[in-house]
């Protein structure tokens, strides 16, 4: 049974229809890359998946939680669905440990000790165990993004969403974040990632979805999507007219 299931989702900002009837399904443990031109609706789709944006029609089911136009049951869903943004969005007034512990404590009701254990475990997972007492401002962009990933992982989500998590980083810091994503993927996390890192998507994602003008234009096993694109739009997109 799929962990993520999207049925005919429509999303508008005012008169602008950004998602024009998107349907898809993601199986447990699957890693799905979402690629496409700027403005094609990739971020919007991810944001709808954890209810940051309401949808006008259609149905979204993630990890057993159903989202429809009414927007009920949001919090239950968000406990099971993590999202990491391009701009890390750490809480600047809290140390790394407290950044990670906050949600497990107040949203999940864990004790301080349990939350601390999760912070230590997830920081180790992203290779930053020694930064547990640091302030976010004193970390590099790559380190902040890894803390943001750890913060999401500490909720022990069933699905992780990543929206261009390396786009704000200098090239030399991109690698350390991609390495974390790759480990996560190998450990069986269900992941949807919007990315411009084509080589990474091809190597790590089981499946790749090409979005075009608010629709899933083409999808398939990553090797096929990148190796033998069927539609002219995807071919053109891959052949360099990136933006």
């Amino acid at each position: 049974m799929p962990v993520v299931r999207v049925d005919d989702v429509h999303k508008r900002y005012g008169a602008l229809e950004v998602l024009k009837g998107v349907s898809m399904a993601v199986e447990r443990g699957e890693v799905v890359a979402i690629i496409g031109r700027s403005g094609s609706g990739k971020s919007t789709l991810l944001r709808c998946l954890n209810g940051l944006e309401p949808i006008q029609s259609g149905r979204i089911e993630v990890a057993g939680h159903v989202l429809d136009a009414s927007g009920r049951g949001l919090r239950a869903l968000r406990k099971d669905v993590g999202i990491v943004f391009q701009s890390y969005n750490l809480f600047p007034h809290l140390r790394v440990a407290e950044n990670i512990m906050l949600a497990p404590r107040v949203a999940l009701g864990l004790s301080k000790r349990e939350a601390r254990a999760r912070a230590e475990a997830t920081l180790a997972q992203v290779g930053l165990a020694e930064k547990i007492e640091a302030w976010p401002d004193n970390l590099s962009g790559g380190q902040q993004q890894r803390v943001a990933i750890a913060r999401s992982l500490a909720m022990q989500p069933k699905v992780m969403l990543f929206d261009e998590v390396t786009s704000a980083l200098d090239p030399e810091l991109t690698g350390e974040v991609l390495a974390v994503l790759e480990t996560l993927a190998r450990d069986g996390m269900t992941m949807l990632l919007v990315t411009h890192e084509m080589a990474f998507a091809r190597r790590v994602a089981d499946r790749t979805i090409f979005m075009h003008q608010g629709l899933l234009h083409e999808e398939g096993p990553s090797e096929e999507v990148f190796g033998a694109p069927r539609t002219p739009e995807l071919r053109q997109f891959l052949s360099g007219g990136l933006k």
Partner: protein, 218 residues
């Protein structure tokens, strides 16, 4: 009989400064509660609440404090509610402080970057938890310098209540001047006392301002 401006007169003026401080304190305490409610109402998701709070801020900022004072003293008296001057003074200054603090704090809350809301929502925090753990702690840092700056205005504005007979610093100076006819001496002393109260607060405000821009205090 004309008195000389001596030690007794000086002590009388100095003693009356206590009431200036008391009024400032009351206005600040009640005004804070009031201002906090107004600030939250102004950023509420409930439109009528936003409009109500907005209207209130508009009134308080658009009307001289003196009018608030006359309304709560003379106005309520006509309505049958005869408040002692000190109470009327406390109420009107609190309303005034509440309006201004509400606006300062609304600005502080809104200057916390929007992604902080999103990140905390995505972590399954309720709206109350978002305020308590993520938004307000950051807003406080932003709000402290202008709030302290406002306290200086508040101290000086308490002088206005002398008009309904509350003997605070300004009124005490007035009384002593009537008895001594030494306005220069008398009001220089009064001004100096105001200065001694306000100057340290201004310094503090400026220091805090630098602190905020320099980054995070521990």
């Amino acid at each position: 009989m004309i008195r000389q401006f001596g030690v007794d007169e000086f002590i009388f003026i100095l003693g009356s400064a206590k009431w200036t401080l008391v009024l400032t304190f009351i206005a600040l305490a009640l005004g804070s509660v009031f201002g906090f409610i107004i600030a939250l109402a102004r950023v509420s998701r409930f439109a009528p609440l936003r409009m109500l709070a907005g209207a209130w801020i508009g009134i308080v900022q658009g009307v001289p404090v003196l009018m608030l004072l006359f309304l709560s003293y003379f106005g309520l008296a006509i309505a049958g509610l005869d408040l002692p001057p000190m109470i009327a003074a406390g109420i009107s200054l609190s309303l005034y402080a509440g309006g201004f603090l509400g606006e300062i704090w609304r600005g502080a809350i809104q200057s916390v970057p929007h992604p902080q809301w999103e990140a905390s929502a995505a972590l399954a925090l309720t709206r109350t938890q978002q305020y308590r753990y993520v938004i307000l702690p950051q807003a406080v840092r932003i709000a402290v310098p202008p709030t302290v700056g406002f306290v200086v205005q508040l101290v000086k504005n308490t002088a206005i209540v002398s008009i309904i007979g509350v003997v605070e610093l300004a009124r005490a100076g007035h009384l002593i001047n009537n008895a001594t006819f030494q306005p220069f001496k008398v009001f220089a002393v009064v001004a100096l006392i105001y200065f001694c109260i306000c100057w340290p607060i201004s310094l503090l405000a400026r220091r805090l301002e630098r602190g905020v821009h320099a980054g995070r205090p521990g």
